[in-house]
Symmetry: D2
Subunit: 466 residues, 4 copies
């Protein structure tokens, strides 16, 4: 009988704080030994010359989410997790959306059913609170938090999703009492609608107007408001998908006032600008997401936040719609006005390669910061730590082995999601996760899928206990 089921030998391991050479011994899906010259395993993977990192956690992805009449999301759990896996992820956190007027539990059951048996990575759900009813806030949320659904997302924008300040405060109150975590999408809906109406009235209906009518000011305002509500309710929050320096400043100012706040940015705010929405023949629709990409200065600000610690989380906000599809970006109504263009872009597979290449390989950040931004901080923020997000004794053996010598040009043809394009077509990257291990099981070996659909499992979250 072998001591270990699997040994990863000779690689350079990185955690959110350390980089060192060692072998990893895995048994029963767990990391049980880290050290020099481990021996005695059923299987040995040679990682010489490679980086051995915690499997990525993408805590912000949308899968099979209802998206309006006639529109369907391009990914279900099968394609979404497969794409994630190929991008070096071992866990993703999609959103379970409450149907208005219905218990969250109902949506949760249905969502579990969709995921069950379909996943290539582990998954854990956030709950979207869209109907802040007394029942939900008074009873259901607390019960769900106790069961391990410990993060709620609330929206300050989108006609059908937005909560008002009173509702947000009540949700924050539940979060404080239950130790759960609230993620907030910060854009001022009324300001946006005011501008949308002006633009539509002026006949300015092309995709670019999507960016113009969701200005930085609308995001900055909602960000400051969300932070103030958290300050009033005395509870930490997560500001998701921050797109620019003004919103970052609000976060820094809140921290300077003593507030505990986590913040997230995404690849689109490092790589795209509003000018990408100008594409001919409605092609700008490929880049329509919210908040929209801004300008070069905002990109630099976001990079600075990646480098200096303003941001804790780097997620994809993967929200895929097919472009050349009447159920996707080119839906009939979308062609009439930007306001009906399905909102979101794919990115779960490219998230980490982009940050690895542009961040680590170009010297902007080191490996520990990469690991923190793409894995550890997600696990810690959303209650999956220490099982997930690190390479440490007792943790799940969720590991991605990165080959820093691979050079690739991103092509949608090579990706595994259900969309028909990638916003990063043609981007050249250095480094790619060539072998991916999920709870000790090799899922991808040297770029070949060897795991099976259904290998991914649901993960229950912990609540904060501070």
């Amino acid at each position: 009988m072998s001591t270990f089921d699997l040994i990863i030998r000779g690689g350079t391991i990185a955690t959110a704080s350390d980089v060192f050479k060692a072998d990893i011994g895995i048994r029963d899906g767990k990391i049980v030994q880290i050290g020099a010259a481990l021996e005695g395993a059923t299987e040995v993977i040679d990682a010489t010359g490679k980086y051995v990192l915690p499997g990525g956690i993408d805590s912000h992805v949308h899968i099979s989410q209802p998206s309006g009449e006639g529109i369907s999301m391009a990914d279900d759990f099968e394609s979404g997790t497969l794409s994630a896996l190929f991008g070096g992820n071992t866990t993703i956190m999609p959103f379970c959306l409450q149907e208005k007027g219905r218990p969250l539990r109902e949506a949760l059951n249905a969502y579990h059913e969709l995921a069950e048996g379909s996943c290539y990575t582990d998954v854990s759900f956030h709950l979207i609170v869209s109907d802040a009813s007394p029942t939900l806030l008074g009873q259901e949320l607390a019960a769900l938090a106790e069961e391990g659904y410990a993060s709620f997302k609330v929206f300050m924008t989108y006609e059908n999703l937005r909560l008002n300040d009173a509702e947000i405060l009540k949700t924050l109150d539940v979060a404080r009492q239950t130790g759960s975590t609230v993620m907030i999408h910060c854009e001022n809906e009324d300001a946006i609608r005011y501008l949308v109406e002006k633009h539509e009235a002026a006949g300015d209906v092309a995709p670019r107007a999507h960016a113009t009518t969701r200005p930085i000011a609308a995001e900055r305002e909602a960000t400051h408001r969300a932070l103030t509500l958290a300050e009033i309710a005395e509870v930490p929050i997560v500001i998701v998908h921050v797109s620019n320096g003004q919103a970052m400043d609000e976060i820094s100012r809140a921290r300077a006032r003593g507030l505990k706040v986590y913040s997230e940015t995404c690849p689109q705010y490092l790589m795209l600008t509003a000018e990408d929405l100008d594409g001919m023949d409605w092609e700008g629709a490929k880049f329509v997401c919210s908040p929209p990409p801004r300008d070069k200065a905002a990109q630099e600000d976001c990079w600075r936040g990646i480098e200096t610690g303003v941001f804790d989380l780097f997620s994809s906000d993967h929200c895929p719609f097919r472009y050349d599809d009447e159920h996707g970006k080119r839906a009939p109504k979308a062609l009439e006005s930007f306001r009906h263009i399905p909102n979101g872009i794919p990115g779960v597979e490219t998230r980490m390669p982009i940050l690895f290449s542009e961040g680590v390989m170009k010297g902007r950040i080191d490996l520990p910061r990469f690991v923190a931004l793409t894995a550890t901080n997600h696990a810690r923020t959303y209650g999956l730590y220490p099982e997930k997000g690190t390479i440490a004794i007792g943790s799940d053996a969720d590991i991605a082995i990165w080959d820093p010598s691979v050079k690739k040009t991103i092509r949608h043809a090579d990706l595994h999601d259900g969309a028909d394009y990638t916003p990063y077509e043609g981007v050249e990257v250095t480094g790619w996760p060539t072998t991916v291990i999920l709870r000790g099981r090799v899922m991808i070996r040297n770029g070949e899928l060897v795991g099976r659909k259904g290998d991914g499992q649901y993960q229950t979250a912990r609540t904060r206990t501070l």
Copy 2:
């Protein structure tokens, strides 16, 4: 026939920019000559050793405003304007409150009727938009602006008055189109209500909780939001009754982004603190107003704003209720919880003497800044300039002659408003307006009332034409 009806001789005149010795010649209610050694008047007032200043304009006073069932405001136009006059004012600007579901015009007619024939100072009305209906926004406001009702106040707090962001944006839009001015009361109602409910649930119902449940954060948030909405709607605004440094910082930041914003503070934020609400036997109710007085640091910040130009306007926010009165502060429900205490304090008569004494006489500001803060900027902001707010050829002869040698202890017994207390009881001041002239007519001569009720007239405002 005399050249002038009245000459004010030998005084030291101050405008918002200059201080000089000269005589003033008045004819037909207008200033027609300023110079050395004027001669030929029916009446001559010797102002030697005195300051001859523009009559004060208090652009933020509440008079005869509906205040909830069983509650009545302590001042009608007669007592309110008389008190204002004795405090050196020649114009006040009270608020005409739209009744929900009714045309503003209706309230306006009724309000004019109350004022007609009752006033000792000139008056001009602001309109409170409480019901942002399509009719009001689409038709009525524009018509009223054209008639000279060119400033609207909107509230972000108070259950029955607050507008939401969409309504505020629409109001701002009307303001931009008509060149009128929007005043915004910035406090986040939902945040306040959240805290009020917590405090009431905890049995913390004394007056001091009024201050605790309306924290600086709630004002800062609403201030930033109001400024952002104005930025989106591309129109100047007035932030009224700023109480602390954090809200001031929001204003400075907005200016640094290029926004045109006017801001106002009031005597209570220079002279009172939240500790004043701690008075025994519910006496703290005397100091209940919104935003509430803060702490010593906030007072210093507000003084700094007076000195360095953060503030453009110094108003009283006179909003008087009798203390020892079941229709006032000690209403039956008020004694049950702070949330029912009538909200507001008197101050129209003491506003200028306090700033003159604490500001000018103590060397914090000079006379031109005093004139700007108490008169000129009000006239310019609200469309009453150049008839009102300055001493210049062609302007109305609205003049207050201040004797800087008077020393007084403020006592409510000596004041002329309809309340039964002053929050500044016992405060010692140096300097008082001993003679007050309204459109050339001497209303107070050496401290004696000589004008008559009804001498005050309604003043129509101009819209901005920039």
Copy 3:
């Protein structure tokens, strides 16, 4: 015998606070009457349709100042004041430079001799402290302040002029004790020299490197330091020629800490950029001044400071050198390296027309703000008020009558200074001061010089008495 020597009839008068139509009666060089329909003068000027403004005060000009071996300034008092006069100024404030190791009094006597009998405008001197010796600081400065030399300029840059922090503190200390005012040129000399040496070592010696080696950071640093020294010494200061938003932010932050600080910007920071220094064939030298012009964003920031009150003073920093001249910009050593290019540009004649046209006529500022920025604030800051800087009873009759209908293209051929170029060649302006009156004497009538050399007199300043 006439009542008045001169009446200016029918114009629109503006002060720093007011705009009104009236006649002005002048006697013995003073304004003695302002009113409707004045009669009885030896001379009457019809100003119908014109603006009647206080004569400009340019408190930052360099005239006949020693500028290094082989270099001479293009203007003496005759040409400098004539040019100023044609630009609507009635007073200028040049700098008297202490020679190292010599008493300031000596330089002052020599400087008075140069001015005596040569001036077309009034003049008043600032003193440049270049040698902060114990004698100067302990005795001479106080004596000079008492005599009416009440403003000192200190430099944080320029090898031969810079004072260190200890010397600046001692100078500020004298200023506090004597009620005089310290102007500070804020650029960090060591930082600049560090960059200059790098650039020269790299062979980068063209004029553009002048801007590159004096970056915004060097100005921001020195500005923050100067403000801190003033905070420590507890005395107001003037930050001269602010060129960008970062330095402006330092000023705003200091005000928010409670410091009294005045600040100045100049036409070059509104109209030029560093790219102007890129001119072919060393022509960029025409735009070499310190701080250098920055970029478009900095221009916008400076405009915002003009509009919102960050700046109190708008001066020319007129410092003229001939371009095509071996004693000017094209000195032999200057052609070898940018560091030897004589530092400064002409602008005393164009300062006000540019701000009038770009500011008032384009709606960025109103007339009172124009008057404050170009005249009143200068007089108040430097102790010339109330004789200078306003239109008020008892003030000197220093008046410029502006015709807002004049349209002009700025050409150096039309200007009156001693340089051979203007940085603003070809700029189109609307509005020009066509008649200029100095202490009641018409110096320019309808664009024609009628005054005489020597009509300008020296003006003694007051110290602060707060």
Copy 4:
């Protein structure tokens, strides 16, 4: 033959990112294995119920440093390192002070001689640049950096140590070229001296004046200047011993501009205030250090910086002088004026227990943040990583085992430094490092010293290679 020399069994290990239960296997002074149920060691330490942390690194201590005529520091390498060891440290970084006019190498040789054979912990030196001569900057520093002396401290204060801006820039330039790190003590010497002279002139010579004459403004100014110089020289820096929120804001602003800056605070800024300098009978001298402790608000700001990531490093700035000693705090001249009081306080032994107790046990920070602040970040910043500062395969087995159940009252009688007092006398703490291991050698076992003088070795630093 055993597999390991030493196994630490059953403890809870923490790194700067992770907390997990595991055994540690040590061989030849290195950590070679981390895992479950390790077996086969010469010695086993049971750490059940304890925290197993990286040995502390105190990167800011002063030992045997020349301190002025007649004054001697209370610690040499023997007592200093012994005290450090008892406080849970395994490495300290004292300063080698260049003698003016002499090569740094000379001081270095002498300093090595003092350390050689005397140490209980490992040591690594910073170099203090006091004489920025061309030889030092042009040759010596670069050579020393290559040999592994890769951090230089420069002072902006202290008459005999301060460098001017030009010298600092040159030092920064060497640092950029050699990949070494510059630590800057930020206080404006001229401002301080100006105030010292004022206070002495006024007869205000008691210890408290030490704090009054070194105000926050002087630290804020120097901090902003240092950051700007680093921005100009394009090189990261360390701002040491930050004492207040204003200096923190400067650091945050610099980071927002994109600068890489590390920052440090110390126990005195969390635990003491300027009021401690008020002690009777000159006892306030016990708390004289620079920057001085500030007020409660500054303490809270520093705690916030500990919590939110403004600070990277938590050091002691141990700089011990005996209190009741004519060669220490009560030197004859010190009793005449505060300016002669030896500047510094002891703290190397109490640094970590205070942060553990006040920070970790009170819930302000978690264990990884504690480890980062006290060990890992020091090793990374100063080139000792990965040998030092973490628990990872291949790293030195420098380990402190903390017992969180120990409750202690800090008494100088129980400490091991050479001073005769501690500023924290009477402070109660929970948690203490009871066993300390240096490169695999147990130095303290259950509170008993078992290591020997001389066990500590000199550690050479790496330069940055980014």
